[in-house]
Symmetry: C3
């Protein structure tokens, strides 16, 4: 059997619009028969953090960072026109209106279509997030570092850094 | 005749500096004999919206989004140091000074050099923009979705997500 | 001898997290035996500007831009949660805590591992920076334009736009 073409997407941003773009492309790629991996790093880790519960982290700085930077797919905001939530709320309205899935729904969908979701271990530390599977949603397949991402990228037909 | 190498650029950002970077690369690629496509999505749609006229959209949310987010190449701002327009104005001054084309001029130039400008239909909806050709400048060749972009990327020698 | 696979990274952003991501990947790529080039443009030029001394530039606008936009690896900030420096300071604390190198140390390390650091001449002008080697750290190998970057990207196995 011929090997599938690979699509690898690095998600550094935690902005709503960039998360949406990443998942649209991931889901589209999977539906086109590509083997898709998404690698979440820095603010992108927010996208795949659990929406519920709080992270138990040690040290004041970690606790503060985690408090300010709660994360979770439902807390993502637009990078512009957030306007204390109004702009983000309006876009979410339009997403429903136009039948675009939410980030939450996209994560489930991507997972069901075989897209691999990977959390970057190299940046967990500096984001004050314990590099443990329990921090992340169940759809997250593994935690890996920069070398794993580059290894994937080298074999990929298309690599996007979003 | 040998096929040309392809360069595909996705423009998600509506920041002045990212729009400039995208066009510099597009125009350079075309001058090097590459077949260049630019795919505008999310805030990037602002880059290729018409500067004149207003968009007729239905529904309060769409009207509000279009009012706040007028778009058009002449309204792009720097992501930093905009300072109520001062920073952006200064950079535009330096662009003239160093003979760098404006985004407006870059669009014309790119079009004349055969660069294909494509508006993303998948995100028109959530941006409250009617997915119609009249919304965009005449240089925009077509409106297409994420699958079209990925199809291009798969065939491209270089794909950039800006 | 077989040619090495190439990794080319364009750094447009001057955000601390994006600079870190770029260097992590560059250093990782080099340690995996890839030939790595980093191309700094727009705000990315700040990353490789000298930390000391000031830039002598002509004209009021250039002087003002350089004053506001001092640059240098030690002045980079997070794109979010900077909070007048508190967030950036906290992340720098966590970087030390987790033994992650600073941008400054990453630059030295990358240089020693043979990563080529290139400053974009095309954007020096619009950033008000004189396109001269003295503006940049000694680790910067050369100054080149968009055509050079695209030439590299065409030959590269992986190209990332960060």
């Amino acid at each position: 059997m011929a090997e599938k073409e690979k699509l690898t997407i690095a998600v550094l941003s935690g902005d709503l619009e960039r998360a949406l773009a990443a998942f649209m492309l991931a889901v589209t790629g999977a539906s086109m028969g590509m083997e898709v991996s998404m690698f979440f790093t820095f603010w992108g880790l927010n996208v795949i953090k659990k929406n519920e519960g709080s992270i138990k982290s040690k040290g004041l700085m970690r606790k503060m960072l985690n408090f300010m930077n709660r994360g979770g797919s439902k807390r993502l905001k637009l990078s512009r026109f957030n306007m204390l939530g109004l702009g983000t709320w309006m876009m979410k309205g339009l997403m429903k209106d136009t039948n675009m899935p939410s980030v939450d729904e996209f994560i489930t969908m991507a997972h069901q279509m075989g897209v691999k979701l990977i959390a970057c271990t190299t940046t967990c530390g500096v984001m004050g997030i314990p590099p443990e599977k329990e921090t992340y949603r169940s759809e997250v397949e593994s935690l890996s570092g920069a070398a794993y991402f580059l290894g994937l990228a080298r074999q990929s037909k298309v690599t996007l850094f979003i």
